[in-house]
């Protein structure tokens, strides 16, 4: 099965007290082919996937009017709120240097207001791991397409 290997990235977070940099498992996604790609962190400990609410308007979803699939209470980045979850379609971009085409998939994605994390999307068990067989080691994220 073809693998896409995404090297972990330093997202500019403050270094640890011993000076070591934080490197995150990062992939790149877009709302559609013509949209600007956003960095997303893959987190196997997260039960759901969540994104900055801005992404939803790019997907044609009106958070104030369109009914979500469901809502979940969530704490993320220090703040707690009820989170509407929608069914959306995203494009996973190939890793740097690859000539492969992006992959489209449909996932459940929660919309978070007041996002303050260094990535615009957080992929968890539902939305990512239920679609992509993924191996994360100390250096890279390997994704079976």
């Amino acid at each position: 099965v073809p693998l896409w290997v995404f090297p972990h990235l330093d997202l500019g977070e403050p270094a640890l007290p011993d000076g070591s940099l934080i490197r995150r498992p990062v992939v790149t996604v877009a709302a559609r082919e013509s949209e600007i790609p956003l960095r997303a962190v893959v987190d196997s400990g997260s039960p759901i996937s969540v994104a900055d609410s801005t992404l939803f308007s790019r997907l044609g979803i009106n958070l104030g009017e369109d009914p979500p699939l469901f809502e979940v209470p969530l704490t993320l980045g220090g703040g707690s709120q009820r989170l509407p979850v929608y069914s959306v379609e995203l494009l996973l971009q190939p890793p740097p240097g690859s000539q492969d085409e992006p992959i489209s998939w449909t996932l459940q994605l929660g919309a978070r207001e007041n996002w303050k994390l260094p990535f615009a999307v957080l992929f968890g068990q539902r939305g990512w791991f239920d679609r992509f067989r993924t191996t994360i080691d100390g250096n890279a994220t390997s994704v079976q397409r």
């Binding site: 990235l9 330093d10 997202l11 500019g12 977070e13 403050p14 934080i22 790149t28 013509s34 949209e35 600007i36 790609p37 956003l38 960095r39 987190d43 400990g45 997260s46 039960p47 759901i48 969540v50 900055d52 801005t54 308007s57 790019r58 969530l74 704490t75 993320l76 980045g77 220090g78 740097p96 996002w115 303050k116 994390l117 260094p118 990535f119 615009a120 957080l122 968890g124």
Partner: protein, 61 residues
């Protein structure tokens, strides 16, 4: 990421070129994306640069 340029952009959304340089930045993600699309920006990737004293994100609950 070129850490020598980080301090200038902390707390802002940035569009990064493949070489790690910043093509554009904004306080608001939507405004940055709108401008990038108007300018037909290609081969950039967008993320937020965290503040120097922001707590470390370790999980979702």
């Amino acid at each position: 990421m070129d850490r020598t340029i980080l301090d200038k952009y902390r707390g802002r959304w940035v569009a990064l070129r493949a070489d790690g340089s910043v093509a554009d930045d904004d306080e608001h993600l939507n405004d940055l994306l709108d401008r990038l699309e108007e300018n037909h920006a290609v081969e950039v990737t967008v993320q937020r640069i965290p503040l120097a004293d922001e707590p470390l994100f370790v999980g979702l609950r």
